[in-house]
C-alpha cells in the first residue's frame, strides 16, 4: 500500500462526495462513513445508507469509489457496514446548518426514540416560527417530511428524525 497517503487525504477526498438528493451535504456530514481501513491491496471504505430503501445508495457507493480513486490514485472498495445502523443524530452540526440554509428543516436531536410530538412542531426554515404543523410524514424523498408554516404560509420539507 502506498504509505504516502494519509488518513487526512482520504477524508479531504470524501468531503467532495455529495449526496445526490441533497447536493449541499457530503457523505461525512451525513454521518454515512463508519470506517476507513488501509488494506494491503486497496483502501476500504465502510458506509451506511440513511434509509433502508434509499435508491441512491448504489450511486453514492460508486461516487465514493471513483472520487477516491481519482484523488488518491489507489484501488478503493466500498462496502455497506451492517453492524451500524444510521440514525439522524449522526448528522453533524454543520450539516444541519447547511440544510436550514438550503430551505430544509433539520431533524430534531432524539434520545434513541423519535417521539411523534417532537415532529409535530418543527421550526420553519424560512421564518423560524414554531407555529407549524406536520402535513405528511412523506416528502419528495424517503428521508423527508412535509410541514406547513402557519406564520409565513409556506410549505417546507424536513429531513426527518430517524431512530
Amino acid at each position: 500500500m502506498n504509505s504516502t497517503i494519509t488518513i487526512q487525504a482520504v477524508y479531504t477526498s470524501l468531503e467532495q462526495v455529495m449526496d445526490p438528493e441533497i447536493p449541499v451535504l457530503n457523505v461525512l456530514e451525513l454521518g454515512m462513513i463508519t470506517d476507513v481501513i488501509m488494506e494491503e491491496e486497496y483502501l476500504l471504505i465502510k458506509m451506511i445508507p440513511t434509509f433502508a430503501a434509499c435508491p441512491a445508495v448504489e450511486v453514492i457507493k460508486t461516487n465514493i469509489r471513483t472520487t477516491l480513486e481519482k484523488d488518491l490514485q489507489i484501488p478503493v472498495k466500498v462496502s455497506v457496514d451492517k453492524e451500524v445502523q444510521w440514525n439522524s443524530n449522526r448528522l453533524t452540526a454543520i450539516a444541519k446548518e447547511k440544510l436550514q440554509n438550503f430551505g430544509i428543516a433539520a431533524p430534531q436531536k432524539h434520545e434513541g426514540d423519535v417521539e411523534i410530538d417532537m415532529i409535530m412542531h418543527t421550526n420553519c426554515p424560512h421564518c423560524g416560527s414554531e407555529n407549524t404543523y406536520l402535513r405528511s410524514p412523506f416528502g419528495s424523498t424517503l428521508c423527508r417530511a412535509i410541514h406547513f408554516c402557519k406564520h409565513c404560509g409556506m410549505m417546507f420539507e424536513q429531513f426527518k428524525p430517524l431512530s
Binding site: A52, Q85, I116, P137, F138, G139, L142
Partner: protein, 251 residues
Amino acid sequence: MLLNQLIKELITKMGDDELILGHRNSEWTGLGPVMEEDIAFSSMAQDKIGHSWALYRILHEELGGEDPDQFAFMRSEKDFKCCHLTEMPIGSYDFSLMRHFLFDHAETVRYNSMLQSSFLPLQQLARKVRGELKYHTLHADAWIMQLCRAGEESYLKMQTALDNCFQLACGIFEAGPDDKQLAAENVYPGEEALYEQWIEAIYPVLVKASLNMPERKQPVYGGRYGKHTAYLQPLLNEMGEVFRLNPEATW
C-alpha cells in the same frame, strides 16, 4: 427440520408480503385522492420493496438462497408465501388505507420482536427499519382518525373497510408448523404471540376513532402454504414481464 430451513421459510413469507404489498401500494401512483397521499403511497411502496430486497438478500447471502432478482421474479405462484391481504387489488382508497393501517402495525410488531433475534441478520435489519416504520404507522393512524371524524358517511366507509379487511389481516398471523421451534431458538416469538401484540397495538387507535373491532372469526389462511387468491398470478405476470424478457439484465 434444520433451523436454517425454518428461518428461510420465515424470511420468505416476510419478504413476499413486502414485495406484493409494495407493488400494490405503487399502483396508487397518480391516483391518490390528494397529492400528499400519492407521494405517501409511493414512498411506502418504495420502503416495502426495499425491505423485501433486504430480506431476499439475507436468504441469498446468509442461507444459500438464489439470486434476489431470480427469487423475486422467477418463482411460480405456489412458491410465494404472501398472505391474501397483500394480494387484494387496491380497491377504494378506504380499503387501501385500512390495509396499510392493519399491515404496517403487524409489520412493526414483527420487526420489534426481532430486535433481540438470535439470528443476527434479522436483528440487524430490524434495527434498521424500526425507525422508518414509525412514520408508516404515524401516517396510517393520522388518516384513520381524520376520516373517522369527517362525518357520518366517511366514518361508515372506514367501519366497512375495517370489516372487509379484518379477517384478511388476521391471515397475516397464520401459524407455521414450526413456530414453536423458532420461538424456542429465540428467532422470533411465533405468529400467535405477534397476533396478541398486534391487537394491543391497533386497539387503542380503533377506540379513539370509535371503530368497532371485529372478532377473529374466519381468518383468511392459505397464503403461507402457497394457496393464493386469483389476484396474485396476474400481478406476478405483470411484475415478471420485464424481467422475463431479459433475465440477464442487471438492475
